[in-house]
């Protein structure tokens, strides 16, 4: 009996991937005959049979990655009756379990371009993906080293076209194929000429379009608007900006709002829930999405477990995701798993907006601009820093009274801020 092992193809190579078995279980192999093909970080190569005899065991199926010196097969033993290697669970490569996102379905508002970086495909596949509006990071690659082939893309398209809705929503109005209208829009009837310029949407634009339409079709949007006096917070920020800067943190208003929202979500957990069919899913983690505007689009990176962070930690996290969103360094994890989203329609002077819910969440808070206004205080008129807060919520799950109670709680936390922030 001779064992076939994963050879070390170079000093720095620690593992290799089986890309092809040239023989099947029970085949007679000749010594030095090509037996399998492996792919490592450095080389792809054929491995010859180390001995002649019957291929009695294949322990590692095609597509698996294993460390060097792993036994891949056995030549000359008894041919076992067990199912072919592909079904052998104990030899599966140790794959890190997917971190379980708190939301039942990952809710990437707009896939960042970064998850696609490093994907291997081909000129043809990239062209077809652009034409069909396919995010290649969602396509399962079965080629060498996980490469996405034409067949993989066609399989993906077939699946997508068979089930165009992003997730099953039995209780929601049946999603129609046009829900993904943006992704499958026909070529524009117009072409560029004297009076118009026609250009294809970017991948991000199409993705946003699709998500917005799906959300409108899915949720029963209601928006409630509150006004909050944030004079105390404006002062706090002014007093502490320099101190935070010393720690390398740019102190904005956002962490104050995140803090207030996280506190209120603790009191009203239904706002931190989502709907799955006929069930309500309560999330124990509070993962706050922060909408970040980008050139030609936006993205919603998520601050995970915002309820476990200190104020400084939140301020730092807000800086971090914003910076990485703008420099396209977000990972897939960064844009998944949100349970509640903050968006900021105020910076250009808008009083408030009526945001669209980031599915599968059930509420989103829009922060208006902070403006000084004359306000009646104790029957006198004072100049105070005021902000409009607009909450859009899903009336399927949240009734108006609850939405307003939540907002009253957020308002109270902002107006009576008593937490030391450093």
């Amino acid at each position: 009996m001779t064992e076939v092992i994963m050879p070390q193809m170079g000093e720095s190579i620690a593992e290799g991937t089986i890309t092809k078995w040239f023989k099947v279980l029970g085949d007679v192999v000749e010594r030095d005959e090509p037996l399998l093909e492996i792919s490592t970080d450095k080389v792809d190569t054929e491995i010859p049979a180390p001995d002649s005899g019957v291929l009695s065991e294949i322990r590692v199926p095609e597509g698996e990655t294993v460390p060097i010196n792993t036994v891949l097969a056995v030549i000359g033993g008894e041919v076992s009756d067990v199912a072919p290697a592909a079904a052998t669970p104990e030899v599966e490569a140790p794959v890190a379990p997917e971190p379980t996102p708190p939301a039942t379905t990952p809710a990437a508002a707009a896939p960042s371009s970064s998850p696609s970086a490093g994907l291997r495909s081909s000129p043809l596949v990239r062209k077809m993906a652009a034409e069909q509006g396919v995010d290649l990071s969602l396509v399962n690659g079965t080629g060498r080293g996980g490469r996405i082939s034409k067949k993989d893309l066609l399989d993906h398209l077939e699946t997508r076209n068979a089930a165009p809705a992003p997730r099953p929503q039995p209780s929601a109005p049946a999603p129609t194929p046009s829900a993904s209208v943006a992704a499958e829009a026909p070529s524009p009837a117009l072409s560029s000429g004297d009076r118009v310029t026609v250009e294809p949407m970017t991948k991000m634009r199409k993705s946003i379009a699709e998500h917005m339409i799906v959300s409108r079709r899915t949720s029963a949007h209601v928006t409630t608007v509150f006004e909050a006096d944030v004079t105390r917070i404006v002062q706090l920020r002014a007093e502490n900006k320099a101190l935070f800067a010393r720690d390398g943190v740019r102190l904005t208003y956002t962490p104050f709002f995140v803090r207030a929202v996280v506190g209120a979500l603790g009191t009203f957990p239904l706002l931190n829930a989502s709907i799955d069919g006929d069930s309500i899913v309560y999330h124990k983690d509070v993962n706050i999405g922060i909408a970040v505007a980008l050139d030609g689009g936006l993205i919603v990176p998520v601050i995970h477990r915002a309820n476990e962070k200190s104020f400084l930690g939140l301020a730092r996290a807000v800086n971090d995701v914003g910076e990485r969103a703008r420099t396209k360094k977000l990972t897939m994890d960064d844009v998944q798993g949100g349970t509640f989203t903050l968006t900021n329609p105020g910076p250009y002077g808008g009083l408030f907006g009526t945001p669209i819910i980031n599915q599968p969440e059930v509420a989103i808070l829009g922060l208006g601009g902070i403006h000084k206004r004359p306000v009646v205080v104790n029957d006198g008129i004072a100049v105070r820093s005021m902000v409009y807060l607009a909450l859009s919520f899903d009336h399927r799950l949240i009734d108006g009274a609850l939405g307003d109670q939540f907002m009253a709680d957020v308002k109270k936390r902002l107006e009576n801020w008593d937490e030391k922030i450093l």
Binding site: T19, K20, F22, P34, E37, E46, S122, P123, L124, V125, K127, G143, R144, R147, S149, K150
Partner: protein
């Protein structure tokens, strides 16, 4: 099996054309009295006479020059090289005179330069070469490489009727190795246009582009691969100059993976040229690397084992196809 061999098809085509047009003449070493080293011209001297079937001294440069001069005088000479390797001795005549004549003086040179090419018969480095690329690289000369009996006949007739020099490479291993029944030859055109490739097998997974004797290697490999579920389309170029690139591009745009196979050596080979065309004109249609399967860059070895290692074999094609298919 009875039938018409590749050699017989060449012989028959020349015979027919000499019958049809008295300006067609034949010259070369031993083509007359001896009937040619491979007996391609056996019987020609008796039938057409010494005025049209001319035995020459061993001087490729000399008799190629004679043929060019005769062409200027209105004849349509067929020049046989006993082994095509020796066309090297006539290199200047072919490349500087025959190929450039139309460009320099407006006078076409309707000659056919033909001879046995290729290896696989243990004939060593002087008698096994594939010299096509010297001439593919030279503007002004057409290059055809028949791989089948019907094409051997059809391309010979087209070459003789062409108004410019045509290099006609016949593979010596195919001479008596492949046959076709007379009836199937009767059923197809007896003239094959120069510059048209032929799709010999339709497929959907990989396009294999080849020419010459490698067509048969390709088709054998396709049979084996079909059993594994890998469906090869096989294109026989037939003409290297002019090249039917539209045929190749069409197939690559449809199938997206391509392998290029030839018996000639690798560097500067036809596969490299086609790979460049595909990279320029079909880059967006490629779903994997362009794969070349060729002889290595060495002279053709004598030793049987080495010659087998040198010439691409069916298993080489099968292995390359498996890898590309899984890519």
């Amino acid at each position: 099996m009875t039938g018409v061999t590749y050699l017989e098809a060449i012989r028959q085509a020349m015979w027919d054309e000499m019958e049809r047009d008295e300006n067609v003449v034949l010259l070369g070493e031993d083509v007359g009295l001896y009937g040619g080293a491979f007996k391609v011209t056996a019987g020609f001297l008796d039938h057409f006479g010494a005025g049209r079937v001319i035995d020459t001294p061993i001087s490729e440069e000399g008799y190629t020059g004679v043929a060019i001069g005769a062409a200027y005088q209105g004849l349509r000479p067929i020049v046989e090289f006993q082994f095509i390797d020796f066309i090297a001795n006539a290199f200047s005549m072919v490349t500087n005179f025959a190929a450039k004549s139309r460009y320099r003086t407006g006078a076409g040179v309707p000659i056919v330069l033909r001879g046995p090419a290729g290896g696989g018969v243990r004939a060593g480095p002087f008698h096994s070469q594939n010299p096509e690329m010297h001439f593919v690289h030279t503007p002004g000369i057409k290059v055809v490489v028949p791989a089948t009996v019907a094409d051997a006949r059809g391309l010979m007739k087209a070459a003789i009727r062409d108004e410019d020099p045509v290099l006609y490479l016949e593979h010596k291993k195919l001479y008596r190795h492949i046959k076709e029944p007379q009836e199937s030859l009767d059923a197809v055109d007896d003239v094959v246009p120069i510059g048209k490739a032929s799709v010999c097998r339709k497929g959907k997974d990989i396009v294999l582009v080849t020419y010459g004797a490698m067509l048969h290697t390709a088709l054998d490999a396709a049979e084996i691969l079909a059993e594994e579920g890998i469906d090869l389309e096989v294109i026989d170029l037939r003409s290297l100059v002019p090249l039917d690139k539209e045929c190749v591009l069409e197939a690559v745009r449809r199938i997206n993976k391509v392998m290029l196979l030839h018996e000639d050596t690798r560097t500067g080979g036809m596969a490299g040229e086609i790979a460049a065309i595909l990279a320029e004109e079909a880059f967006d249609d490629l779903d994997g690397p362009i794969v070349r399967i060729t002889a290595p860059d060495t002279p053709v070895p004598y030793a049987a084992s080495l010659e087998d290692a040198f010439i691409p074999q069916v298993q080489d094609v099968v292995r390359a196809a498996r890898t590309l298919h899984a890519y």
